[in-house]
Amino acid sequence: MSEEGIIKKLMYVNRKAPYGTIYALESLEVVLIGAAFDQQVSLAFVDDGVYQLTRSQNTDGIGMKNFSPTYAALGDYDVRHIYVERESLEARGLTVEDLMPLTYEDEDDDWAEKESLRIVDSSELATLMGEQDVVLSF
């Protein structure tokens, strides 16, 4: 479903913790619906948004649905570029080891499984944001 052949660079910026407010969950819903539009999509995780990608989330104690497994399915929705800001991780005592593995299958390379996730510093992320046609910030 492309819009008369228009293909834009579209970045979703996720800034909030996964629970506590609904922003993270509803942002993910936009990403999944948006995948049908065949745009050049990327996701960025900054500030408390980096917690959205942490491993082994368990929501039993708060009575909310643990929606974190959905991030691992993003590769199936052709989301291949997921940026995590290095400074946000460091400020929270997190490393890439604390994050879920996120991959996609590259049909141009015999369906090889490749990493979607990249750690970038804030200046690189700023450059990436500057290259976008649309930035959706949640």
Binding site: E3, K8, L10, E26, E29, F37, Q39, V134, L136
Partner: protein
């Protein structure tokens, strides 16, 4: 220029809706086009016709309805966000067995695809929220 507008916060609680309204009005006055205003998260609460603000305050919902009528604006509430928060049009109310609907004039309920389409079709998508 053709603008898409995204409103992510509810009325009165947050200034986002006021700022979005003022932006839309200024853009239209300056001769620009507003392709669509999309309401998401608590922003869907901008579309309930049941708000009763104090008389000496602005009426955020009526203001949107009036702007929509004057300029044929497309005001869209996200259906998933709306249903969670009790915003229903007549069709949705019937489908879900609810005894009332509460959508203000000029608003319609539709899917998130309307947001992505607005982002693609507009020259700029401007977000109002936290």
């Amino acid at each position: 220029m053709k603008f898409g507008i995204l409103v992510n916060e509810g009325p009165y609680q947050h200034q986002a809706s006021d700022s979005a309204y003022q932006f839309a009005q200024a853009a239209l006055t300056a001769g620009h086009e507003v392709y669509r205003v999309f309401f998401y998260h608590d922003g869907v609460n901008n579309g309930t016709r049941l708000t009763v603000p104090p008389q000496d305050d602005r009426n955020v919902v009526d203001r949107w309805s009036e702007l929509a009528e004057k300029h044929s604006l497309d005001l869209v509430l996200c259906v998933a966000a709306a249903q969670r928060r009790g915003l229903l049009d007549a069709d949705e109310a019937q489908r879900h067995g609810k005894d009332a609907d509460n959508i203000a004039p000029g608003f319609r309920i539709s899917g998130l695809g309307q947001l992505i389409e607005a982002a693609i079709q507009s020259d700029r998508l401007v977000t109002f929220g936290d």
